[in-house]
Symmetry: C2
Subunit: 380 residues, 2 copies
């Protein structure tokens, strides 16, 4: 298997980006990533996106490649709900590792503010099971609320403990120029915020976000395009049933565990090697289960650890120095690409927010309620 | 680069499949392909699909893997408009060739009859440019009509010559048990059929189709799972601008030419080696340009050749013994998988319709109006 390196990253500011068209936002990230890779052009692109259908646009690979000046390259879109960015990176990795290409640009793009919020919320629920869940009128927040209630009851976790996650994420995002919510909050902010789907409150939940991120992946031959190439040491993906009623345990994401095991095995690494990680905290309950399935905490213990002050700068591992989905924002199909770009920048030492440094980093991107999970291990 | 082999194919009957749910139709094809591969299960799946958003369902890889008894495998959806099946095969090929996996099941699935026809027709136009084309109210048939009018005028091709394609496709499909339109027609049928978008008539156009097809791809180690493994000798993909107004030549599909060149180079083959091909005849004009870009005819000459009786059984190459998109049907995201499965069965000798045989086959799957094209070369 040929080694794959990250030699360029490009981020755009996450937020309500009604100032810019989808194709322009994507091209901004792509051009930045190409500049970071010595102005090298890719031979192929893979686009991570979930919901461009809401603006009546598919065929994004062709659309975006052309707009970024790459007409004639190869490419397609990869989709795995909110895990589309991770899926695109898996596809991009394999296109290079296979020997088919030497330079592949992976770009995640999502614009959720192009449609009225109720339409977008409905679109996000396409990640769930239309025939067995959505038909009963449940929302995506409602599905996560079911898991959160069950988890808190089973493990004796308090509302306050859960709430500390959001406070930490806003503290981290305060320093990140690309983050959507760059303001510090208190525990009271979370505890007094409106209930969205009991027990999920507004500040347990990530915002609606627009954003684009791009990563230039290359083979060994092109690693010198950047002074500090970062190696993709491991990549693992796993699928679970979207339909929660058919899960064996409601407080677990088996796909997150499987994908972590696969990534660590491929990287020949242990969880104790990880210095910094970006995890998928679409809701605080998703953060808790993700942290536990990766192995950073025992089952049911993640919220107690973060309420005690763990996972912050100075601890090891540091979680979500970007501010996470909660405060950097969650431009759905782009999120997995943001995460990996942010971890790569931490290892390179040039992340423009909180600087963690380190040798080994991890990113976990989750689609659905734990139904399509990609975990990636990077080494400096 | 590791060799990749086809050791299992599974087709479902194309048509108006309101008798069966999307996940069941996909699972039917997947189970058939696994049975054909000695009941072996894959480690990963790639789903080719364009328009499941119309039924408010994304995250298809997780949904379909679970339903087919494959919970826990890796996977994602690949999309490239009507070229989604080819894109899924490119992704599946690279997942194996990279060494990440040894067994990958590629499944194409589309159900276009789940929504009223106007909604579906609007959805198909997501392959075009929403901001620069659809906003003016043009349909996908309308875009193809622009190209057809230009092509016929420029090359002096008559309406009758174009019409022979549909007659040939219906003759071929008559023998294919999986085909949607198993009835022979005459030149008059085409010439007297209603105008959809002048000069495109109803019988220049493929039908709306539901269908699923699956292919088990494996590495060298598993080629013995089938008595007659077929090697994927070459695979090439290229993107062009979806927006026709920015093309250099309206009667050409440069992406089709590039993808053919890439596939032939990888297969170390020439166009003269091809015994049988399945090409993407969504409209008769698409068939003409595809045939010419592949190199089976000089520019502007394809309709003259097929009107003279070329490309039929006994000639070389034989085109679309399945009946093509025109008469086998065009279940959008599944079409590329049907094409490759059909060519593989021709080389194996067990295609249940017209039997061509041969050593080398080609399939070309086109997304948009020539904006995302994958060409695949198979060798027995």
């Amino acid at each position: 298997m040929r080694d794959v390196f990250i030699v360029g990253v490009g981020l755009t500011e996450v937020g309500k980006r009604v100032d810019i068209a989808l194709r322009d936002l994507a091209a901004e990230a792509m051009v930045k990533a190409m500049e970071d890779a010595g102005n090298e052009k890719p031979e192929a692109i893979v686009v991570g996106n979930m919901l461009s259908s809401l603006v009546e646009q598919e065929n994004l690979a062709a659309l975006i490649a052309d707009h970024a000046g790459l007409r004639g390259v190869s490419g397609f879109k990869a989709e795995g709900a909110c895990g589309s960015g991770g899926a695109a990176l898996l596809a991009g990795y394999s296109l290079i590792s296979s020997g088919l290409f030497n330079k592949v640009l992976v770009v995640g793009i999502e614009k959720l503010h192009e449609r009225p919020t109720p339409d977008t919320a409905r679109g996000l629920a396409y990640a769930a099971d239309a025939d067995y869940e959505l038909i009963y009128g449940i929302s995506f927040a409602g599905l996560n609320a079911l898991v959160m209630r069950y988890y808190m009851n089973k493990h004796g976790v308090t509302r306050e403990e859960m709430a500390h996650w959001a406070v930490m994420m806003h503290e981290n995002a305060y320093h990140n120029p690309y983050a959507q919510l760059r303001k510090k909050i208190t525990l009271e902010t979370v505890m007094n915020s409106p209930v969205i789907a009991d027990p999920v409150r507004l500040f347990d939940s990530c915002p609606l976000s627009d954003g684009a991120a791009a990563i230039m992946l290359v083979s060994e031959k092109y690693r010198k395009l950047n002074d500090t190439p970062v190696r993709v040491a491991g990549i693992g993906n796993a699928l679970d049933s979207p339909d929660l009623s058919s899960r064996f345990e409601l407080d677990r994401f088996i796909a997150a565990k499987l994908s972590t095991e696969r990534a660590l095995k491929m990287a020949n690494a242990s969880i104790n090697d990880i210095d910094v990680a970006e995890i998928h905290d679409a809701y605080s309950i998703v953060a808790a289960i993700s942290v536990e399935e990766i192995g950073f905490a025992a089952r049911g213990k993640a919220p107690k650890l973060w309420a005690e002050g763990r996972f912050r700068l100075g601890d090891r591992p540091v979680l979500n120095p970007s501010g996470g989905l909660k405060a950097r924002g969650h431009p759905v199909g782009a999120t997995g690409v943001y995460q990996v770009a942010e971890v790569a920048m931490q290892l390179r030492g040039d992340f423009p927010g909180l600087k963690v440094g380190g040798e080994v980093g991890l990113a976990q991107n989750i689609g659905g309620v734990g139904s399509n999970v990609t975990t990636i291990i990077l080494r400096r």
